[in-house]
Symmetry: C2
Subunit: 293 residues, 2 copies
Amino acid sequence: MSTARYLEDSRQKVDRALTDLLPRETVHPARLLSAMRYSLFAGGKRIRPILVLAAAEASGGKVEEALSPACAVELVHTYSLIHDDLPAMDDDDFRRGRATCHKSFDEGTAILAGDALLTLAFEVLAAGGEGIGDNIRLQMVRELALAAGWRGMVGGQQVDMDSEGSKPELPVLEYIHTHKTGALIRCSVLLGGLCANADEATLKALGNYGEKVGLAFQVIDDILDVTATTEEMGKDQGSDAEKGKVTYPGLFGLEGARERAIKLVEDAKSVISGMDSTGRLAQIADFVLLRRL
Amino acid sequence: MSTARYLEDSRQKVDRALTDLLPRETVHPARLLSAMRYSLFAGGKRIRPILVLAAAEASGGKVEEALSPACAVELVHTYSLIHDDLPAMDDDDFRRGRATCHKSFDEGTAILAGDALLTLAFEVLAAGGEGIGDNIRLQMVRELALAAGWRGMVGGQQVDMDSEGSKPELPVLEYIHTHKTGALIRCSVLLGGLCANADEATLKALGNYGEKVGLAFQVIDDILDVTATTEEMGKDQGSDAEKGKVTYPGLFGLEGARERAIKLVEDAKSVISGMDSTGRLAQIADFVLLRRL
């Protein structure tokens, strides 16, 4: 199966599982559920949940048993986008070419929709699929909470806000990227391994791969923010630079940032070369890189 | 031990456990942790966590083993206050006589502090104390997610927002109160029973008690909003009415609302009369009522 076909098939599996999580018809709170659905089905590429599925398969697990953690990470990712887009944070009106949640609904509803998606992630993880042991499910709850909370993604977003307009420094930039984007991507790969009962050595390799892919992802995002057109990105071009944000191209130039992204993906592939039986993890790393360099 | 002494001792136990959850000195994300601490230690009465401890003791469990779920519900409660106070929601500048989180810090930080507290609640619950089985801990994660998410508290807050300025109707009011306030209070009592390995009948009685106390709590809050001075409440008096919110006194008058609160507390005490060996659950129900009627 080609990489493109694999990604598309996996995306559809994830979309079906996500669709089952939210009821279609509810009297209360109908507006909240509409807002949750609006953002959850906004055309995301589902890279994080696909990483969960791929890591589970690479570790000898079944895709079906990895669907709950896959949904959980996508719910957390979607909540983070909704809150990041708010006027009090990045103040973005468009995301993936559509009005952001608070523009399409209202700010209060967007805040609550994010809150509800985050909470649902833990519900889904704790409910889990059949075949996953209670101790593994608890470990997944802990890993997701660590990756999403103040030690992870939310911490990264805070420091990103705090550093706006200040002189860019590499340690701050690396803190932001490993936390804001990297932590959840690393967690996705780990959850895949965990739900497949991977051993310590495999989990360590997966975590290592996830860190590198996560960082590459963010470097490429920074590059795209400079080079891509508004139409391609679905949001205003160069908006990071306008906001005085610390970025990789800002620190190393476009060439330097590209070199770094290529190196990170090569390293990520090398880390899992011995265990990536399906070859999918390497393909996803390449896909991240080739989104547009 | 008198009720007052019991409540104060329990509050101190909860405060010590909460203090241990957040590090004092951290470089990143220092501002986020400050905001989390600011709201977490804003002088709350800790009713919800004390309900966890009391329900655990009433079910034959140990207070020490109930501290993790007690902290988890207080973290969720604090996050909900921060987000509810935001300009896009209730737009309150003061809470318990102090500037609200977004006033003392900024809106972006307040949103993230709420997000981080919610996430930390699940981390704490999944990490759990010693002596609680994995299946019980998972059940607690699920109960908290259900009570806090779109089926519970967040759903209630959404419908509360949606109904502002519209003609008050009893079914809507009851939906709002059982979800916005009631769900987390009921969950607190349930988590106490769960971590003490309470049997089905006990859990059912606890859930029933929690529902009634939760509803009484909200009816009294509505009454206080009309009758208490700004100084006593620490926020603007009559602010619910000004916002055109549906309230119990608005629907039934002050007398009718008082009658309802008294009846709910009597019913709550009667439901647990057979199992409340320490008598603390009945005392807490009375305390809720006597806050000021």
